[in-house]
Symmetry: C2
Subunit: 347 residues, 2 copies
């Protein structure tokens, strides 16, 4: 049996047969027109009369017929589907990204196919499956991807964009908030508030996001002759932030008067530890600053000072870059969208 | 131009042409075999020799060729894509649902196409677009859908399952936690704790979830000769829960010694209001109980007593029902998965 025989009258009746869904052919027969005329009625740039189109659309609605978006888009050499490969749903920043991404994609006539990377795995494990869906583009966020896999995407002509991760791979785009500059601004603000012993709580030490925020924080402190006096790993989680605070503020440690966390989730864990497990007051004794500006950061019981990441603008940039395909030249292509410091009660 | 001419050699080179992706035909030509032999090498139940298959797979990997999952699945009359139509990403319960659903779908060889309903809209606005993607099934959660649209799905032979929403429509399945029974258990527990003036904070008054939780709570209190002494609307949000608490505990109101909230997000808002805006102690003066058991409910600063919803089991049930198609008989088909009460510090 050849591949051609697999496809008797695709796309008009391929999925219809078994399910009994109405097809363009059913409509054509009832109206006594060609099947292609029915399909044309759903094309904006069609050359059929308004009267005929309205007759076709009316019958389509009556029968519950819808054109096959996947088959039609394959005809146009595009599926209209963009894959989002996401590594972390527990940090509320990413559901917010997901919602904004889904809304903006649909507004641009595309749709989101979601792949969640299992905890502990990296995106590589999913890529062969992602590519089988013939997606027009792939966005990877909060997950690692090997250069082998990004080369595979390049060979297959699939646009690849990293969101909130910067990679040194010249074949892909990265879209981030200006992490380094904003972390330096946090350092500058803390020094202005007469903080002299600043600690840093990192997320994933391999992630560019943590690396850039630490580098910027160090540079911002250095301008004032200060350095990071203590550093702990928090793994981007609330529990990790709490555990890191327990290390930073356990008996016998030199006094720390400010903590900058690589994300808000960890900062909420630090606030919880300081309030429930120590007598230290926030911000009088210890200032706490996060990164992301998730919803909970603005809750009055937290009132967390943090860096706002401009999700909507970052995603608008991602969608524009997906359309442009691969970056020009042979240097890593990074789009940095400016964030801003949100001053609340914790610093 | 007819529909047939639209599809020169679909599926093997449809998307390949413009993007320059390698195709089964490229492989076939290099290996001097039929294109259908190459496609067969990717079928588990293939009748070609292991030696030939390994040669084909090796070249495929070298060239970065992957079979077209969408075209292949259309041949099998199924796309392997399930649509999730989701109304609320701000409540952490739903990102948890999304993650579990995505993982379990992939484990069953299917993939998740996500549609987020814009705030204020209902799922109807998206359905024509959802159906165009020829999905095998549609799961609707935290969103309303008209019976007109569920009939449309039935006409098109697309399985439709409501998650965490119960509908009176005999053509669709609903999968919920046993909301009514668990709400009655909350009432029973509060009365045992000598609470005599219980209030209820509702989510969306039109949603079956709030209706069932209120009904169960009322019935549970009635067993002990009590009733709900006050009721406020909180719209399922933290801010809504805070505002509802402000109404329930403002000066001049009769004393309330227990508040049951239709979800955890609202309960966190109530806790915030009681702690920051009143002198009332939790649980000494007021008991607070939520529903869902989101991550934040277990944070030590909240330690919220709540009802645990068994997300993994609920989703396993949804995926099983998607495979079964439409419910038998002509009565609304509801699957209720037992939840359980999680006792923490707030009640």
């Amino acid at each position: 049996m050849t591949a051609k025989n697999h496809l008797p009258e695709f796309p008009l009746t391929a999925t219809a047969r078994s399910s009994g869904r109405p097809t363009a052919r059913h409509l054509a027969e009832q109206l006594g027109v060609a099947t292609s005329t029915v399909t044309r009625a759903f094309d904006a740039d069609s050359r059929i009369s308004a009267k005929l189109r309205s007759r076709i659309l009316a019958l389509a609605d009556e029968l519950g017929y819808r054109p096959n978006a996947i088959a039609r888009s394959l005809n146009r050499r595009r599926t209209g589907i963009v894959a989002l490969v996401m590594g972390d749903m527990s940090n509320p920043f990413y559901p917010a990204v997901l919602e904004a991404f889904s809304q903006q994609l649909r507004a641009s006539g595309q749709q989101l196919l979601l792949f969640v990377v299992p905890a502990g795995a990296d995106a590589d494990t999913l890529m062969p499956q992602v590519l089988q869906y013939q997606v027009d583009g792939i966005v990877v966020t909060a997950a690692k991807l090997s250069s082998h896999m990004s080369e595979l995407c390049a060979r297959q002509g699939v646009a690849l964009v990293f969101l909130n991760r910067r990679v040194e791979d010249p074949t892909v785009w990265s879209v981030c908030c200006d992490n380094q500059r904003m972390a330096a601004a946090v350092a500058d603000y803390l020094v202005q508030q007469n903080r002299h012993a600043c600690a840093f709580i990192s997320g994933d030490l391999q992630s560019s996001t943590t690396a850039d925020r630490l580098l910027g924080f160090e540079q911002g402190l250095a301008v004032h002759g200060q350095r990071v006096v203590a550093q702990c790993h928090g793994g981007y989680s609330y529990e990790g932030g709490r555990a890191a605070a327990a290390q930073l503020f356990c008996a016998g440690q030199p006094a720390i008067d400010a903590v900058f966390c690589a994300n808000d989730q960890m900062a909420l864990g630090v606030l919880s530890y300081l309030r429930l497990n120590t007598s230290l007051r926030v911000p009088e004794d210890v200032a706490v600053v996060g990164f992301d500006d998730i919803c909970a950061a603005s809750y009055p019981e937290h009132a967390l000072t943090t860096v706002h990441q401009p999700i909507e603008q970052m995603i608008a940039c991602v969608i524009r870059l997906l359309g442009e395909g691969h970056p020009p030249g042979n240097t890593p292509a990074l789009c940095e969208i400016p964030g801003h410091l949100v001053l609340r009660a914790t610093a």
